[in-house]
């Protein structure tokens, strides 16, 4: 690593000032788990590191407009162990749990991970399938960017050098919706995926017809890939295995993997079809499970209501 200036601003204003002073030679650092490796390998040689570690109030996880708002400096570990995330979006907690090891998840931040933009990461496909957006803040103000379209190439995003990811927003999930994230790991548990697939499936109220589907894949291209053609074959279709298999085949066509020690390009393509199908199966099981849980909870609610009525009548 070549020597560099190290700044520890306490406010966003000071962060912006630091970035302005050093221009494109400055790099932001939060957890540092990805950046430090790249600096050790001399792939990145910043003249200044502007640390975000002393900023306060950017790591909260809360409900907003029925969806979830996550601060850009929340760690992966905070997301995966948040009771709010686990209750409302267990699939997202699972996706964050899949990242590397606990040591990395204790340091790596949500915003840092997205800005790093490695196409092998776990959260991006899950977040794209969930329709998430990020808030990018510069000295000039903030803008909201959908994650679908955010990644442009290996380690490249639409972010400008002076922009910081200050927040992540996951909109409210519609009724009768199930979600799943699957990671194919033929080597070790902390490895990058050979292929990963996220599916979010919305059914009609009878759970017979597919109203909407969102599918995204990781590790099979230069960016996470949203499989829009696969989604299109599902919309309006009755729920059946053939439709899921067809969506898998369509998703496969959208991939462009490279051969490496995690599998040949051809193998990864085949596995993309398989894992999209399985992710859809799991998302469907999730919808049905939620419906069963709801049905099981209902009689109790009725009883409670009946009790209330009885109480009222007694009062009269």
């Amino acid at each position: 690593m070549i020597p560099f200036e190290y700044r520890t601003p306490k406010t966003l204003k000071e962060v912006h000032a630091g970035l302005q002073e050093f221009g494109p030679d400055a790099k932001l650092i939060a957890g540092g788990t990805a950046l430090v490796i790249m600096m050790k390998q001399r792939l990145v040689r910043p003249s200044c590191l502007v640390s975000l570690r002393d900023l306060r109030g950017l790591n909260g996880i809360e409900v907003e407009d029925g969806g979830l708002s996550i601060g850009g400096l929340a760690t992966h570990r905070e997301v995966e162990s948040s009771s709010l995330v686990r209750r409302r979006l267990p699939m997202l907690a699972e996706a964050y749990h899949h990242v590397a090891t606990i040591r990395i998840r204790n340091m790596a931040t949500v915003g840092g991970g997205l800005a790093h933009a490695d196409p092998n990461q776990d959260p991006p496909p899950a977040l794209i399938a969930l329709g998430a957006t990020v808030k990018a803040t510069s000295a000039k103000g903030s803008r909201v960017v959908p994650l679908d379209g955010f990644f442009t190439d290996y380690y490249e995003t639409v972010l400008n050098p002076d922009e910081i990811i200050t927040g992540l927003f996951i909109p409210k999930v519609p009724a009768n919706t199930g979600a799943a994230y699957l990671k194919f790991l033929p080597r070790t548990a902390d490895d990058y995926a050979t292929v990963s697939a996220a599916a979010v499936l919305t059914l009609d109220k009878n759970l017979k017809t597919i109203v909407d589907a969102r599918i995204a894949l990781g590790s099979v291209g230069t960016t996470p890939i949203r499989a829009t053609a696969a989604e299109a074959v599902l919309r309006g279709q009755p729920v059946k295995a053939e439709a899921f298999a067809e969506a898998g085949e369509k998703a496969k066509e959208a991939t462009d993997p490279i051969s490496d020690f995690r599998g040949s390009a051809g193998y990864k393509k085949e596995m993309a079809a398989v894992f999209v199908r399985r992710a859809l199966d799991k998302a469907l099981a999730d919808v049905r499970q939620q419906a069963r849980a709801k049905a099981a909870a209902k009689p109790k609610a009725k009883k409670k209501a009946a009790k209330k009525v009885a109480k009222k009548q007694r009062r009269r």
Binding site: M1, F4, Y6, I37, R103, I104, M107, D190
Partner: protein
């Protein structure tokens, strides 16, 4: 470019001036003489360099020393209190939780962090937590057994 940092290491205050590109592991080993923490893979995969920062385990090979400024670091040297080994250390000795020993400081620190959060973990919970601590002698059965039985040594 140097920077003065002040942090607590194993309960004691430490103040050192380090180059900004100094890694935490090198600061611990060479500036503070705490050679218990080992460097294995240097890319955050093997777990040999595991230390605790404010109680959370991290890879000291991926952490800049300047990032520890103002924080509390615990290394394997800080686990024993007044010369008495902690339950995990005692259990590793009792149940043979190591072979060649190079991964042991990382294993012991990681297992201590686990038991702090979950005093009686199941085998699956141990595997999930310890997944990032590699033992190339493949002594995993004994490591898992040592962690499972560590509670016997807790007061």
């Amino acid at each position: 470019m140097n920077k003065k940092i002040t942090f607590r290491v194993n309960g004691k205050k430490a103040a050192v001036e380090v180059p900004t590109n100094r890694l935490l592991i090198d600061c611990l080993r060479y500036d503070l003489g705490l050679t218990g923490t080992k460097e294995g893979c240097s890319v955050g995969v093997c777990g040999a360099c595991t230390v605790l920062m404010d109680g959370d385990m991290i890879s000291s090979c991926l952490t800049l020393a300047v990032m520890a400024d103002g924080h509390e670091i615990t290394t394997v040297e800080g686990l024993a209190k007044n010369g008495v080994l902690n339950p995990v250390q005692k259990s590793f000795i009792q149940y043979g939780g190591f072979q060649c020993g190079i991964c042991t400081p990382g294993q012991v620190v990681a297992a201590t962090a686990l038991l702090e959060e979950n005093p009686k973990p199941s085998e699956d919970e141990i595997k999930d937590w310890m997944m990032g601590n590699l033992c190339r002698c493949t002594g995993y059965y004994k490591i898992i057994e040592s962690i499972q039985k560590a509670h016997q040594f807790a007061k």
